[in-house]
Symmetry: C2
Subunit: 169 residues, 2 copies
């Protein structure tokens, strides 16, 4: 798919069909995240991919807003080091990886709708990451039920001319 | 350009040619940022676009690592509210907008290489944003000198099988 079409087609998807994600598509989506830029190329992320249905159902309980994880074809858990400093930089870079993943998914017609993690101990028990890491975010993936992804003409966003300032605020 | 090609072609570019960026391309790149996802759709960003050469030269002095801003065809300044709380969430979302901008630019053959901001007062004087906002980041844009953007086969990143864990860490 053309890049501009994929960027406009990415939307928050929380209802997923039963269709699984092909292995080579999942690899591409993960590789998009791996390729994301980061400060001094420190790459403060690991990706734990969950596809087992029982694990997905359990993972969906780590946050009240993560229920759709249970129905996802796959969920990528962003795991990152617990830092005393530079947490803002870390989150900035995790955001960069997240959008890389979501645009690569949209390109393949695959929806995503990321979720935060509240119960870190439960997440650790399911995902198995070490004590000095935490799960920053979940990215559930799957084909949307109903309407497939399509370029949005009028995304629910502040108007262009309000957001963009030319030369000076 | 195909999305997967654009994602693989995005690289850090700091040497820009004199070729200007067409207005409709600049609008598309900015619109990609505007469309980025954010927590509860709060969109904690404004984009100040600088194309005036004198302003770019001055803006390049806000951080020791921002010298290439002076040579950019255009630089997008990410301006965001100064928050007492939820700064990590804010940075996460600014990272999401940043990569959306950079992938949209790569799609058009336009390079980018973002830079931090140290001298906030100087940035404010040039950009003119209000006191309750700060400049989180600069995204200089331009056509690369020398080699155009091309898909990287071996990006300088941790190996796929080190970053990706299947089912469990």
């Amino acid at each position: 798919m053309e890049t501009w079409k994929a960027i406009r087609s990415r939307r928050d998807v929380r209802e997923f069909s039963d269709r699984p994600i092909e292995e080579d598509h999942l690899v591409r989506i993960l590789d998009a995240g791996r390729r994301a830029p980061s400060a001094r190329n420190w790459q403060p992320w690991d990706f734990v991919v969950v596809t087992d249905r029982d694990d997905l159902v359990e993972l969906a309980t780590v946050f009240v807003g993560a229920a759709h994880v249970a129905r996802s074809a796959a969920t990528i858990a962003l795991v990152a080091p617990i830092l005393a400093e530079q947490r803002e930089l870390e989150y900035f870079d995790l955001g960069q990886a997240t959008v890389s993943i979501m645009i690569a998914a949209a390109d393949l017609g695959i929806g995503s709708g990321h979720a935060a993690v509240a119960d870190q101990e439960l997440a650790r028990r399911i995902l198995g990451h070490p004590e000095d890491h935490f799960c920053a975010h979940l990215i559930p993936l799957g084909y949307p039920t109903g309407q497939p992804l399509f370029p949005m003409r009028q995304p629910r966003r502040r108007p262009f001319n309000e957001v963009v300032h030319r030369g000076h605020w």
